[in-house]
Amino acid sequence: MHSHGEGGFPAESLFFIPAVVALVAYWAGALSPRSGSWPWHRTVFFTLGVAAVLATVLNPLAELSHTDFAVLSFSHLLAGMVSPLLLVLSRPFTLALRTLDVYPARRLSRLLRSGFVRFLGNPVTAAVLNTGGMILMFRTGLLDAMQDSMPVHWLVTFHLLAAGYLFTASIIGRDPSPHRAGYRLRAVVLILSIAAHNILAKGIYADPPPGIEPAAAEQGALVMYYGGAAVEIVLIVLLCRQWYQWSRPRSRIASGTRHQ
């Protein structure tokens, strides 16, 4: 029933273009002398992050996720949680600001300081985009549309990645962010988002989305619940560790100039 790509040039191959562009740009930056011995593990994180999201739009995952709800759940976990975490940890904006020429770097830094990015990067906005997207996907006809149409599937995957990145960056991001929210707000937003994820997963377990068999819904919900928990625990640890480093003892004089 899903005959796209058969006997011709598979449209999915086009996704290699942005993926390769992103990888080449990042690697070029990381290897350039201006990066100042960029830690290699960040390059690994970026590469794995791009690979994870690419895997969800290519076969076999793309095809299987149309027939198997547990695989769809796993794809969402990759695109919406695992890949954003890896990409945020790879600190792409720090690398760009360090290695770009002066003018593009200034333009980027102006963009990062703009009101729009500030609004999008607020933990509350990011959490609403992230959680709201999930609720729409499972509680409206969107899921059905995704099963029928590849472009809808791609759009949803893009939303998962973008919203997931915004959310992860707003909670544990280490890239320059002039208006980062305080620890208390970030902790509350993280707890509420994890709760929403738990509630949604249990809701799917109990009350399958339209067109999904109960047994398949249970499998998918388990992937969502326990797979999500693994990533969420990493987020909690990273947020707490950031607070721990921030609040380290230091002299009174130095602490007068400390940044957030």
Partner: protein
């Protein structure tokens, strides 16, 4: 972000907070591992619930994970500042764990009927033991907290603050 200097530190309050968070997290974790997974007395979701029940369970689960991690990081912070008051911290753990268990045993089990401790047995014994243990934990925690209500960290004077 908004606080240029460390907020005025209160070691007594911090020991209690760290212990209580850790206690809540451990109680939630023990419930999940022992009763849900090892004994399988009750489950993930028992199909007998209301929307409010799902909501409170999801929130508590999220808070439980956060509490255990944050409680331990707070403990590391206390150690770093030489501010650990071990008895007071232990009191916080007992109080937090007891409070979680009492909440689970009364609100989640009884008021919302989210799940029961066990099925197809007389619940009275189980409920009594569950909630009595919770109250005992809270009482012993309260005793420790009362005894350390004026305690000072042992190495407070040795701390170099300037």
């Amino acid at each position: 972000m908004a606080s240029p200097l460390p907020p005025s530190r209160s070691p007594r309050r911090r020991n209690l907070l760290s212990g209580a968070l850790f206690g809540i997290g451990v109680a939630a974790f023990v419930d999940e591992v022992v009763f849900h997974q090892l004994l399988q007395w009750h489950h993930f979701y028992d199909r007998s619930t209301t929307a409010a029940g799902l909501f409170s369970d999801g929130l508590f689960h999220a808070f439980g994970w956060f509490a255990v991690v944050a409680g331990l990081f707070l403990f590391a912070d206390l150690r770093r500042w030489h501010e650990v008051i071990l008895q007071r911290w232990a009191g916080g753990v007992l109080l937090g764990a007891g409070a979680f268990q009492l909440y689970d045993g009364t609100v989640q089990h009884k008021l919302m009927g989210l799940h029961q401790i066990r099925y197809e047995v007389d619940l009275l014994v189980y409920d009594t033991v569950w909630n009595a243990v919770a109250v005992l934990l809270m009482l012993s925690g309260a005793v420790l907290l009362w005894r350390t209500r004026a305690a000072v960290p042992p190495a407070a004077d040795a701390r170099t603050d300037a």
